[in-house]
């Protein structure tokens, strides 16, 4: 027993265990979200979705996972084998690495670094490399199209997204995500979407700009996770799933997992920036290490739900419309907001 405790107290072992917490969370979350998304999608279309496996089909995601585990792992003959195998892991690593700076609760953050959100933007950009790699290595023109579209889309939406983050960073004066969350502590009135924990005049002045920044970040984050209405890279009706056409079995599952993890990641960023992260909406009521984790996941999941809801509401955009939204609408608005926020913060 003592040996085990001593082993667990080794700094290296503790670090590995702490690093595994987000992974466990992602795996459980992905299973829940697959079920959740299917149910929401079905009910929006007045259907029922899974009903056979377990009570209302609750164990269907596990059955799906077992199926994917058993499937043959096909690598096309003409594919670039090394890149083909590497790509899904790179995509997942990019997403997983981003979880390092995510403040899950007041007591748990993988790495409490001052560069927090900057690191997050940088690490999640690795996903683009992975997608492009997957599309190129598949040696399939549809995959290649999907990957190119994906790269074009993510790179162009990174700009309004990052500008929105910049506006928020200007307000908080820090990039540390734990500090950002703590600055919004004390109830719903201190959340940045309402104007943050500032004097009343400044708060009222900030409110409209924060709301616009929130919309901008929400839209660009949806584009970054390649979901409808911005799912051009996948576009199953024209591109046959895009970059992951040639993938099967566990490699496909990893792409899928990364997609869902990415979905939670961007939702969590929205929550941390605008909706007070893990802070309780009732001030000190229901706030503690465990409660804060609960609030964080709850808020994150509600934005995941918003994403799913939008996915089953809006049709896919055309490529030129997609670029129009990014360059002609979101980017100028974000720049305008940054200038306005700069003035407000100086005054």
């Amino acid at each position: 027993m003592e040996n085990i405790l001593a082993f667990l107290n080794e700094p290296a072992v503790t670090m590995v265990l702490l690093a595994l917490i987000p992974l466990v969370f992602i795996l459980v979350y992905a299973l829940v979200t697959i079920y959740f998304e299917m149910k929401v999608a079905a009910h929006i279309q007045n259907r029922l979705a899974y009903m056979e496996t377990g009570w209302h089909g609750v164990i269907q995601p596990i059955a799906d996972m077992l199926k994917l585990l058993q499937k043959e792992d096909i690598i096309p003959t003409d594919a670039d084998k090394f890149l083909f195998i590497l790509a899904p892991y790179l995509v997942f690593i990019g997403t997983y690495a981003s979880f390092a700076v995510m403040p899950f609760s007041s007591g748990f953050i993988g790495s409490n670094i001052d560069l927090g959100i900057f690191y997050l933007v940088a690490a999640s950009s690795l996903v683009v490399v992975g997608l492009l790699m997957a599309g190129w290595a598949s040696n399939n023109k549809w995959s290649m199209f999907g990957a190119l579209r994906s790269a074009a889309q993510i790179v162009s939406y990174e700009i309004p997204g990052v500008l929105a983050i910049l506006g928020v960073v200007m307000v908080f004066g820090t990039m540390n995500m734990q500090t950002m969350t703590q600055m919004q502590d004390g109830g719903i009135q201190n959340w940045l979407i309402i104007g943050g924990n500032f004097p009343l005049g400044q708060k009222l002045a900030l409110f409209p700009f924060m709301f616009i920044l929130f919309i901008i970040y929400l839209l660009s984050s949806m584009a970054e996770v390649n979901r409808t209405p911005f799912d051009l890279p996948e576009a199953e009706s024209e591109l046959v799933q895009g970059y992951n056409t040639e993938y099967s079995g566990m490699k496909f599952a990893i792409f899928y997992l990364a997609e869902y993890a990415n979905l939670f990641l961007v939702s969590a960023i929205v929550v941390v920036m605008f909706f007070g992260g893990w802070t309780s909406p009732f001030g000190s009521f229901m706030s503690g290490t465990v409660w804060s984790a609960f609030w964080f996941v709850l808020k994150g999941m509600s934005f995941v739900f918003l994403n799913i809801w939008l996915r089953w509401t809006l049709p896919r955009l055309r490529v030129d419309q997609l670029m129009y939204v990014s360059w002609k609408v979101l980017t100028p608005f974000a720049l305008f907001c940054i200038i306005a926020i700069g003035f407000i913060m100086v005054i």
Partner: protein, 219 residues
């Protein structure tokens, strides 16, 4: 409109239409579903639905009208006339059965569900049911054998028919011989003229028992 108003108008329209769409989808989400959990729940079929054919073998009189009516020849019937001595029973409509139906097969895979075979049936033994779940792994299982006669029964029936036919031919030969004898007798003996018409009638009468309805006079 200037370019700027168009620009802002577009943004307004995009956001408002997205919100309208979201309102519709969230309403649909909470409204009741329309799914029928098929293998567990089934829809009530209409009264005159035409699905799998059902045939009541006990009522069949072997008239083959259904097989003739079938446009795709999916009904295959083999019949054999029963000897009048045999009693095959009656149909539920009170009609006497006189024919052995040794085979009554319906190949439901060929059936086009037109229902044309149902109407000609004089005893109403053929009808279309509302059963629509009859998939099979082997195509041959879709040939339904409605005939309940076993191979042994068919053989016995065949024997009986053969026996009866032989008896009949024997009888006919005997009757023919008798008639010939009578004719010969009539020819040999110049009978009185007024009585002649009566004499040719006799052979004709002796041939009558050949008909299946009347039981043979001799025996």
């Amino acid at each position: 409109m200037t370019a700027l108003t168009i620009y802002f108008n577009d943004i307004y329209r995009a956001i408002s239409s997205a919100l309208i769409g979201m309102r519709i989808t969230i309403r649909q989400m909470v409204s009741p579903t329309v799914t029928l959990q098929y293998p567990h729940e089934k829809k009530q079929m209409p009264d005159r639905v035409r699905n799998r054919l059902y045939m009541n073998y006990d009522d069949c009189i072997g008239c083959e009208l259904c097989a003739k009516a079938c446009p795709v020849d999916c009904i295959e019937i083999e019949v054999m006339k029963a000897p009048p001595t045999e009693t095959l029973g009656e149909t539920s409509t009170g009609q006497k059965k006189r024919i052995y139906v040794t085979k009554f097969d319906i190949d439901i895979a060929k059936c086009c569900y037109c229902g044309l075979c149902v109407f000609p049936c004089p005893t109403e033994c053929l009808k279309m049911t509302d059963v629509y779940e009859f998939s099979e792994y082997d195509r041959n299982n879709l040939i339904y054998n409605f005939g309940t006669m076993s191979a042994v029964e068919v053989e016995t029936a065949k024997l009986k028919v053969k026996q009866y036919d032989e008896e009949q031919t024997a009888k006919k030969a005997a009757a023919a011989a008798q008639a010939a004898a009578a004719k010969a007798a009539a020819a040999a003996q110049p009978a009185p003229v007024p009585e002649i018409p009566a004499a040719p009638v006799t052979p004709a009468q002796s041939e009558q028992p050949k008909g299946p309805d009347t039981p043979p006079t001799q025996q």
